[in-house]
Symmetry: C2
Subunit: 545 residues, 2 copies
Amino acid sequence: MQIRLSQLNYHIGNFEENVRKIIGEVKSAKADGVDLVVFSELSVCGYPPRDFLEFEDFILRCEKAVAEIATACVGITAIVGAPLRNNVSSGKGLFNAAFVLADGGIRQVVKKSLLPNYDIFDEYRYFEPNRDFDLAVVNGVRIALTICEDLWNIEDPLYITSPMDELMNDKPQLMVNIAASPFDFSHREDRIRILEKNCKKYGLPILYTNHVGAQTELIFDGGSMALNAKGELLHELDYFKEDASTFQFDGDLKLVGEEKTIDARPKIERIHDAIVLGISDYFGKLGFKKAVLGLSGGIDSAVVLYLAQKALGAENVRTLLMPSEFSSGHSVDDSVTLSENLGTEYEIVSIENLFNNFRQDLKPLFGDLPFNLAEENLQARIRGVLLMAVSNKFGNILLNTSNKSECAVGYSTIYGDMNGGLSVIADLYKTEVYELAQWINRNGEVIPENIIAKAPSAELRPDQKDSDSLPDYDVLDRILIEYIENRKGPAEIVAMGFDEMLVNRILRLVNLNEYKRYQTPPILRVSKKAFGMGRRVPIVGKYLC
Amino acid sequence: MQIRLSQLNYHIGNFEENVRKIIGEVKSAKADGVDLVVFSELSVCGYPPRDFLEFEDFILRCEKAVAEIATACVGITAIVGAPLRNNVSSGKGLFNAAFVLADGGIRQVVKKSLLPNYDIFDEYRYFEPNRDFDLAVVNGVRIALTICEDLWNIEDPLYITSPMDELMNDKPQLMVNIAASPFDFSHREDRIRILEKNCKKYGLPILYTNHVGAQTELIFDGGSMALNAKGELLHELDYFKEDASTFQFDGDLKLVGEEKTIDARPKIERIHDAIVLGISDYFGKLGFKKAVLGLSGGIDSAVVLYLAQKALGAENVRTLLMPSEFSSGHSVDDSVTLSENLGTEYEIVSIENLFNNFRQDLKPLFGDLPFNLAEENLQARIRGVLLMAVSNKFGNILLNTSNKSECAVGYSTIYGDMNGGLSVIADLYKTEVYELAQWINRNGEVIPENIIAKAPSAELRPDQKDSDSLPDYDVLDRILIEYIENRKGPAEIVAMGFDEMLVNRILRLVNLNEYKRYQTPPILRVSKKAFGMGRRVPIVGKYLC
């Protein structure tokens, strides 16, 4: 039997487009003599559909889409993902299901048992877990068909049952898993390890299809793959783009008609590719082409400009350089050099006059109170207003240039430099932003070395440096990783050798600034714990602050 | 046996304060000869602790708090709520539990079975459901002790088991339920109905303790209560404040030493009281006293000013009046009258000069492009910057004055009038804001009639009216309620008699503007479906838009 893994970029709720793509693939697979073509989890509606699943209208459209795809499945079998109604009167109203389509109809439905409900996942919000276990049979082959998380109970089990244990009772010959497994910079290794463990434990080969494409903050990286019964990786589909590969199954799996590929990109290149896809899909799926951002002369905005230019093309990215009386001379020069290196348009709008106008109009309220945070933030907000004016006037989406370190400790101005439709690098700590900049310059200077070398500064008061308020970023980032990624408490972090007063101060800043992060733009997720939907913390909590 | 329900206002993560309050209540109950005192769900850490539960350090603090409370429980029994570790190696690491404390230690632990994971609830993110059922026995009385949702499977069952069905096997004499059940304007009736159904089904009386107090967007309204075995309401504790009542149990329940109270507030008064508590707890728990807001002369900011003055005191609320060339003369006059009625300080800062300064500095970019949305939003953003400058300079929290209708269709300026630390009335549709204004004026004019009577306008261009862009609010709000609250799709709403083009346009606007709502301040929740954590919708979704 020939089985094709079809790795597509779906658009949530865009049934017309999703169905068109799936049917196109079914037809070309059939033309190629393929017996079974496998799409990914919730492929007909896109993943994650979130609360759209609460709409009867949305479910009807899913059902209509499945029926339409089924009509194309004659002389070929397809597996697609879609919600399924639960007809039992108790329990949640839906299952997350895999539909086996053949002979123009729905031949069989397999339901997801393990519903991830941690980090960015909310599946138990919508779905009832499956409790019945049956193999799918296609062309006489007995397939243990599971959905994503169903295979992930093999390390530190979060669930009390494991679907494969149940399915083994019926002696399957092959595992097939349809997934919607989002990128983080080490998730490829996690996936390969988990699939390998399943192959070894159950003595079966596996075919695994993943989503590809970004859905707001979540970046699905593709990398669908096949492993043999020994758990050896036979082939990976491409990462960060649509792809398909065909396998021959006759007890064992064999790649058909192409060269075996194993992805070897280093971590930083993966992050780069993920973010570029994240930007281009955010714009493409919203129907926008053009971006605007502020260039400060610092490393964050330089890296974001590079990524935006990669994703959207130089002709679609414009920048504003908005110097103030506190800007160093090189801020503008470096930004001009960067723009010329990248071929992107820039305009210079000084904020000096506007800053003075605001101060004058606020004089009756502020009197002789000294220059402080209010005036610092005022400058960042004037810049935010100018950028949004350009965004509104020309229909450009403003890109936010915050990094994860400053998001964490609140070293940023809400309604100022925190503005934007999409936050591009806010899941990269400052030290990772440097790493990415170095990688961008690996074949020659794209980002001027001066931008990389200079001491980070917000330039909102005379001679300001980030290091006036914060510890060195390599220390700060290591503390933040322990707290945010690893959920260590103050005592545990201090025991690692960090200064107690510093740890307490940093953790306090992180928790106090939750109110700012609540209003942050969606952040492209590249780590295991990004700010946003995957990290849910009370604002009025009084914990460590 | 004498049992006291103790309804306290907890602060998430503030263990010192929560423990101090609980021990104070234990001691005074003991002094009064009470045998058992019952606190609410997750009372030691506050509800909802959200991802703080993922920190070992946080769990250790919970355990320490329970142990400390237990030492005070000598000669009296107390029931408190706290997380409990799951010592089984599969399944999630915690249970949501009720600790029965007596003789200076933990006598028994009962675990929550039904974990709400819809709307604002995320309990399955953290907790493993209980599967063992035992009664709690206190002074020889066999108590079916359950936690909040455990009793809610009695209508349209979301779960396949019902804990009370299991507990009935052991012949309990009394039901006790500890809860953290947030306010919405019809939730009191829901609670009474659910408890009544349980009493009737199981033939048992019930004691029910709820949280009181606001935790960011969630307002816990208290209203702990007792019902007899026939399901008759015996007594309600007060709403929106801390309270305690004692009951004698000897087969049946009897209120001890006070007069029976049944709350009779109309819906609009409940909403008022809830929002006032929401504001005062947001400020109090964050350690702030003072608010600032912009007064436009419209009804939304007028109502917010009234509510803020009620919650914080007139001396703690200041306003800015920020007229432009498009402001009608009465906007300032009406705002001045309102401020005088309420005794709140106001300052007038015209935005005309700043608006002209921005336009002049943007001239090189905008050229002769016509005045449009960019210039409209610019005015709103200048106001936002002025308000944030005052907020930063004087340490006041900016209150957001958006209503739910404009949040829904995006009739608002991001980084302009959408700014704020807390959104006060963004869970009230415009028609409900009018209703509240009328209620505020029930004993005489507080909000000037002219503010209520005038046609709503953003005043961002000459002679602008909301009705230029939107249908009348009574039509708009009815369509929005069907879509947002009732999750009806376009066909269903059209079938109710609304114009098809209008319905499609409104639903499209709601979905297109998800990107704005993503960055909205936290919204005090008073309905069953507020924007925010309880409504999770993709930004790049292409559904109905």
